[in-house]
């Protein structure tokens, strides 16, 4: 589904991520973990075309999308749930979802919104409320739903648990699990390593912009790899 080969990215002249490579199959979850400044978010943003790519290739369904602008990558089937929610606070919940489905026909958009309400019923209750007035958890649900509007094949999720109470985190992961079971591939950036290991099929650990360990979650847990690397 998605193949990343030796990806280098950064801001202007400075490179923040070097040599990221992985392959993601349908219905698979890849967890990117690592300390602050490891290059996790930059890598995701580069996948979405929002950070300069300094080298390497990104293949999506065997098509090289490295030079595609971000709006074209959405059409290919990639979608992002950005760090810190970044919903549009002055638009209502409904309008935020509509923004997520901007490239769809009105019929498809309506379907997408109904599906979002199925995943997160609270959004239906709040549909006419300004998104900026939602609680942190509700905003995260909205951000996930907005990303799902285009019916992506790969969903890129950045720090879904950031600043949320455990109950809300569990709620969000429950929906991600459901999406995974439906065949959606997910790339997850998480600081909550416990969650990342529990949810990910593949784990990549980054430090100072480079891969320091990669493998499956079972091995990572068995070998206590997180503790070894972080200490």
């Amino acid at each position: 589904m998605l193949k990343v080969l030796n990806l280098n990215c950064g801001y202007g002249e400075s490179s923040v991520l070097r040599g990221l490579s992985f392959e993601l199959k349908e219905g698979e979850v890849l967890s990117l973990i690592g300390p602050n400044g490891a290059g996790k978010t930059s890598g995701l943003l580069c996948l979405m075309g929002l950070v300069d790519c300094h080298g390497g290739d990104i293949f999506f369904k065997d098509k090289n999308i490295t030079s595609l602008p971000s709006d074209k990558r959405i059409l290919e089937g990639l979608a992002v749930v950005p760090e810190g929610r970044r919903i549009f606070p002055n638009l209502t919940v409904f309008e935020n979802l509509m923004a997520g489905g901007h490239i769809l026909t009105s019929e498809e958009c309506e379907k997408g919104i109904l599906k979002s309400y199925e995943y997160f019923p609270i959004l239906k209750e709040r549909k006419n409320q300004k998104a900026g007035l939602l609680s942190g958890g509700e905003q995260q649900m909205l951000a996930v739903s907005r990303g799902l509007m285009v019916n992506p094949k790969v969903l890129v999720v950045d720090e879904i648990s950031l600043g949320l109470m455990p109950k809300m985190v569990d709620e969000c992961y429950k929906v991600l699990k459901k999406l995974k079971d439906e065949g959606l591939s997910i790339i997850l950036v998480e600081q909550n390593t416990e969650k990342a290991l529990e949810f990910g099929d593949k784990i990549i650990m980054l430090e100072a912009g480079q891969i320091v360990w990669e493998g499956d979650s079972v091995t990572a847990t068995k070998e206590n790899i997180v503790q070894k690397i972080f200490t």
Partner: protein, 293 residues
């Protein structure tokens, strides 16, 4: 009566100009610190054409076109630079415009263009025409604001990167906002030139750009009604009270300062705050009455 008509005409042109900037800065979130350059482009285009005996009404689309073309190129710049850098770029365009006009003899150089022919209407009908155009654009802005395009503008204004990551072609929308906002500024310039019958490079300098930006910010960025009312008020104030005209920049800066300090969302925010306070006060009183009974 002539004096009142002159005041109202100045007011209508200022409203149109402020709404033009509001379209770019208020609705789409793209700062422009050189909007007077587009006013000037329209004014010079229209003045030159009427001096060459073209009818005034025919010059309006050309004024919009020349300003719109300039706006299109600035819109292209906005794709590469953002925020402070866009502010500096647009400010540079303002200075460049004045600098170029000063050096061109065919544009009247330092002296400007005087003896601009009458638009062909009486003063009263010219006022009606200016009011009509200002109302038309206010109506258009309101329609756009409520439309899907308005929502996209708002999302670009809130978070451009996220808007782009949703598959929305941000570049098209930004260029559209610039072209419309600058074309309308050009039309306002054409009206301005035929209202005063004289234009010079100093009429379109940095002070004018900052003044119109002050109108938008003091009114409340993005609000069509609040910006119109503020533009109307601030444009006639220096004419009614002469001392304000002498200290125009100082007065506008002080207003801006106090607005930023006490109501960063402008008059619109202030009115909303008062309404909210009044409502909560009424609710409290109702609750107390219910308790008492």
């Amino acid at each position: 009566m002539d004096y009142e008509i002159t005041l109202l005409t100045t007011m209508s042109i200022s409203i149109l100009f402020a709404l033009a900037l509001n379209f770019v800065t208020g609705l789409c979130g793209q700062i422009s610190l050189g909007h007077a350059a587009f006013l000037g482009t329209g004014a010079y285009t229209s003045a030159m054409m009427t001096k060459a005996s073209y009818p005034f009404l025919l010059t309006l689309p050309f004024a919009a076109l020349t300003s719109g073309i300039l706006g299109f190129f600035i819109g292209l710049c906005s794709l590469r630079v953002r925020h402070d850098f866009l502010a500096i770029t647009t400010m540079g365009v303002g200075f460049l415009f004045v600098g170029v006009v000063r050096q061109q003899d065919f544009l009247g150089g330092e002296v400007g263009i005087s003896g601009i022919p009458s638009p062909g209407f009486s003063r009263f009908w010219f006022l009606v025409f200016c009011l009509f155009l200002a109302s038309l654009f206010a109506f258009f802005s309101l329609r756009i604001k409520k439309s899907w395009m308005g929502k996209v503008f708002e999302s670009i204004s809130d978070d451009e990167d996220v808007t782009r990551s949703l598959g929305i072609n941000v570049s098209h929308y930004k260029i559209f906002a610039f072209v419309i906002g600058t074309s309308v500024a050009g039309v306002a310039g054409a009206l301005y030139a035929h209202h005063l019958r004289f234009i010079g490079p100093d009429s379109f300098g940095f002070v004018e750009s900052v003044s119109v930006l002050a109108m938008v910010i003091i009114g409340g960025v993005g609000s069509v009604w609040a910006v119109s009312i503020t533009a109307a008020f601030l444009s006639v104030l220096p004419m009614v009270f002469q001392f304000v005209d002498d200290y125009k920049l100082l007065f506008y800066s002080a207003l801006l300062f106090f607005m930023m300090r006490f109501s960063p969302e402008g008059l619109k925010g202030l009115v909303e705050k008062i309404k909210k306070n009044r409502k909560s006060k009424l609710d409290k009183e109702n609750k107390n009455e219910q308790k008492a009974s």
